[in-house]
Symmetry: D3
Subunit: 219 residues, 6 copies
């Protein structure tokens, strides 16, 4: 019998981020369809903002995946740096989705070129390497940071304004036809920023969950 549960791992330890992801995935929960369980990686830092933090969560993420793989239909690593994605794919036969990769490929179906809104300046070179590694540089419009760390995303003090302002620059100055929210912690702003920008805005965890639903149903 098919396993229809999907495990969404938030690799940072901020429960508010996990809760935001959980709410964002609500529309993808269909009676009789795959379940979407969102959990917090307790070993993770409050926010994943540096390459060191990205690399540090790989081992616990993969340990968790290994432990749960017999009972889970597909995994989602819900951090926009896709930590451990390729390692996890080598070690489990279950489908594993990274939210950055999922967001980028989904964005290709929604607009001419995609822009990324990052939390901090330091994320930008990391994203640039990921775009090139994915072979998607010809469709990449640009990347703008809002200067707000992961744990401050929930505060709402001006977060939406900065997201919209960054989105506008990506649209108007860089020619982006679709914008990706470059952090799982931005999920709760998707609809509002899309309404303001009037071009599609992609929440990366929603993108990954969509692909994961297909994967578990089609295996």
């Amino acid at each position: 019998m098919r396993q229809l549960n999907i495990l969404v791992i938030n690799p940072n330890s901020t429960e508010a981020v996990t809760a935001g992801i959980d709410r964002a995935l609500e529309p993808l929960r269909i009676a009789g369809g795959p379940t979407l369980e969102c959990i917090t990686l307790k070993e993770g830092p409050p926010g994943i903002e540096t390459q060191a933090q990205v690399d540090a969560v790989i081992a616990p993420i993969c340990a968790l995946i290994e432990k749960r793989q017999d009972s889970v239909g597909a995994f989602i690593i819900a951090c926009y740096s896709d930590p451990g994605l390729h390692r996890a794919r080598e070690t489990t036969s279950k489908p594993v989705f990274g939210i950055a990769e999922s967001a980028m490929v989904t964005a290709l179906t929604l607009g001419e070129r995609f822009g990324i809104i990052s939390i901090l300046e330091g994320s930008i070179p990391r994203h640039a390497r990921a775009v090139r590694a994915a072979g998607l540089a010809e469709r990449f419009a640009g990347d703008i940071a809002i200067g707000i760390g992961v744990t401050d995303l929930a505060g709402d003090d001006g977060v939406l304004e900065r997201l919209v302002s960054a989105g506008r620059r990506l649209k108007d100055d860089h020619g982006a036809g679709v914008v990706i929210l470059g952090c799982a912690g931005m999920a709760s702003y998707r609809k509002r920023s899309e309404n303001a920008l009037r071009i599609p805005v992609v929440d990366p965890t929603q993108a990954a969950a969509t692909l994961a639903i297909g994967a578990v149903r089609l295996r």
Copy 2:
């Protein structure tokens, strides 16, 4: 209230192809989830094998989409040449998915580089233009035709053998890590060819339906 029905348009007039698509989408039908209605474009030719045939179905596809757009949540154009995709996107505000685009972006999550199995030699330059237009040339391994037209795909006389043989060449000689079935009419061979090739095989209509389910649930 959200419209949760997805209309899958087979632009060729071969009912057997529509039936094959319909069966292939069965696993993606979830109780309480979006419906997936598959219809045959009566104006279409028996198979779409030339650029002329691709271009000829654009008008009836788009007329159909326009007529049905108020009551449909998302559209899928189920021909691997994605006829009318960009036109349809300009004329309806509902999400429209092309199966070639959907298959390529899905393949990016499943393997290093993707190969395409085509029906006829004449499809190969058309696919090459589509790969470049999508900005995906760096992830493209190659394209091999099996020399069987659309209406003969159902016959099963040697079709599987040729698909597997083409897939093996894509895997072994061209370094493909994932293979796309380059015709909606090949849907019934997906599982068997995947089992034989031991790398992921993507049915493009399944890929599009997966993305469409996410799109209608998230709007």
Copy 3:
């Protein structure tokens, strides 16, 4: 005996555009050389400004080409969206030139990177796909719309000013070394805008006619 006549098809129904093309091709009419007959596609809309209009003219263009192919040496499809180009090439053995493709390849011989001046914003994603499909993204500087529809190009009210202003931005801000007029209806402004911009300006129909002359003489 060689057929030395070239048929230039203006797929929009605006006779003023056909007349402008006709005048622009005058310098390429050489006594004893190929003739250049310019005709208006009566089935076309007044201007081709959407993907729907692009797709709609494909069938009548190709019907016309088929009808005339025995007596014509080469065909030019004089719309910057190259409607039906690849279909026409599959259905006639006579050379067929698209003016966008011809302009881009000619521009490669005239400057480091090429910019495009479009009529309307909506043309820009279509052009971007065409640039990538042609594999020319590394030589593409940018695309700026002047916000004037096809039928208003003849009016001359500020058209030249806007063309020159767009050209200057392409040259100064985007690093274009050569500019392409992204509509057959802009032909009459080529010389004046080139004089103002002081970098080469390519009229796409002239570019196509040049290639067509070579093609019919060399067959």
Copy 4:
């Protein structure tokens, strides 16, 4: 009054090559049209087969262009390494065409991807740099050498056979849809190799002359 003469410079000193070019350009000579004068660079070596020979002819080519520029409408540098092309363009205001550049851009209008037939193995890295410098790597299928030096091309002993054999490998193994003769000295074999290969074969000097005719008529 417009200057309608085009000067075609063969930078090697082999008169037989110049004579072959001259014959190949005959169809492009139109009564009342631009003249095409073919001359031999007396300072050139018998064949240009090394980077050293390429570089050595730049100075005399450019001296010749400077001397003749007042009375000539456009120049063609008829060596497939395009020696001095960018220098000449900086020093004269008259259009200058390189035959490699002209052949590549023309080939883009004739087939999906282009292959090159070279004289010697040593030419291949030089051509690869030129393809990349032109930004055309996505349309490049491959390059195969026939192992015959410039001065032996006239001999005809097996030259056609080797050209056709190289062309077949480019077509069948590398997916070339059009083949470029990668040496001005191969001009006399164009038609015969095209007939044998059944895909377009481009003589680079004919391609340059076509563009030059347009350039002088349109200035």
Copy 5:
């Protein structure tokens, strides 16, 4: 005063590999120049052959770099998967070189396109991502595995033969003009394989040490 010592970290625990690296660097030890200290990461596995092993050594590598950074002039991470390279660069202000990155950029100065010889099939997708992430796909000829794990590289039983055979295929079938040894453990075979292949063969640790010497002298 300038710190002129370079720390070369072999992230696998096989002392024979460290010893081979040490010998390979001997020519780069110049009296009065930077010292090159080679150490074995005791936490490492015997060989780094999977993404899991790559990821697992990142933390101990970076801990070591942090501990030694005050007294060391530059670091080299001597594993062809460049584990922790970008993290280390974020956390220390001292220059850090990855041997894969160093080898690729050095190879660009030695030949038209570079091939890679890998230990195992599983390394190839990892290398492909690294080539694309570095933006070097246009200069990449191919990657061939010899099917020998890290700890068996010292054995010499047929290793050289397989390296030369893979190198020949890269040269003859893939057009490589230079070959990179895709594992630090292959260092002792560089000279012999270069002599056999007659094109440059790059030992990646030597390439990194060369760049590191420049970096410490120029700071």
Copy 6:
């Protein structure tokens, strides 16, 4: 016995430039290591600022290399247009480094994307061709000219200010993570501009000398 001397050829005749290069290389002179001899090409123009000047120095550079090749371990052509680089590599078996190529590949190890600071506007298209020919367009951020010719670089009147201003625009507006000084005559400003810009600044001759030291030690 290994030849450990490196000959650095300044192809312009301005002794002040040679002297500046000589001083810039001082840190790379290691007791017991390769010597770095800097000489002025007496046949060169005062500054190499046009394609004509680039091409004109190729012959004397290569004559010099040929004359000195028996007694020299490696050559550096110290002009940012890399004149004669590929010719020299064909004619001598000794390693030859161009400073532009060396600077670009070194920059790849120092930052996400590289910017170039040029002397004059006219250099920019030449550099763009070189970036593409090297296959490095995906890592290229932009090129800005300071409008000062070679012989005025020594004057120091505002040169540093203009370099820093151009570097800031490359960093802030174009996203450069590392900047290359696009002229050998800018060597004396490297440290000061790096201090002002707070991102790595590459002197191309230092980059070439680093690679050359490795090359002569490893042969």
